[in-house]
Symmetry: C2
Subunit: 129 residues, 2 copies
């Protein structure tokens, strides 16, 4: 299953807390789908920006993956984190091409309170740039 | 893969627009995780109520599944619908026991606007009961 090696590298990147490794893992024409916004964010630069910001907000908040469902070139990783005492439960839906590069990255978050908190944090962080 | 038959029956139930079939598909101790609320909703009665209401809101809105990822006893079904001109994109995460009965049903929805719209519609519908 082609996605397995991609997900292995994804986990290594998260463990190393090193978003700079994203450049090796993302396809040039990768599309990022935000849990908050409808409009897809296209390309490596925008996707790297969003994922790096999410790293920053979530990885110091007890972020952990709690379920993985893999098939062919598709992976769904369910995560949980607690930010400012608010539970954030979400999924990363990841699609890769035949070379294992990530071509599509979609994030969904529940419950509503968790999503609103994430929106506030991400907005604060991205506004500073 | 045990989940395949369960998902086949789930699709038949949706095509027939017949939520009464849920009684055969859900385990007695099934847990439903709402996209809006943090607290898990426990048992067949509550899960049937939420899923039936979601059927009502979504199935007349061009609801369709656009991606399926299955592994072992886990399924992730991604859907899309358009309600009052607002796009609702979400996933159903379904877990079954060794008999193929659904023991865990989690729904996540994006974008924020779609989730808020769904919250309003579900609240209106469930308040009438």
């Amino acid at each position: 299953m082609i996605i397995e090696e991609t997900i292995k590298q994804w986990h290594q990147l998260l463990e190393a807390k090193d978003p700079s490794q994203l450049k090796n893992l993302l396809a040039d024409d990768v599309v990022f789908h935000s849990p908050v916004l409808h409009t897809p964010q296209k390309g490596k630069a925008l996707t790297t920006m969003y994922l790096s910001a999410a790293f920053y907000v979530l990885t110091n908040s007890g972020f952990k993956y709690i379920r993985e469902v893999l098939q062919d070139n598709q992976a769904v990783l369910e995560f949980e984190a607690v930010v400012d005492d608010i539970v954030v439960n979400g999924v990363d839906m990841i699609e890769c091409d035949e070379n294992g590069k990530i071509t599509d990255f979609k994030v969904l978050v529940r419950p509503l309170k968790g999503l609103q908190m994430l929106q506030t944090k991400m907005f604060e962080l991205l506004s500073k740039k």
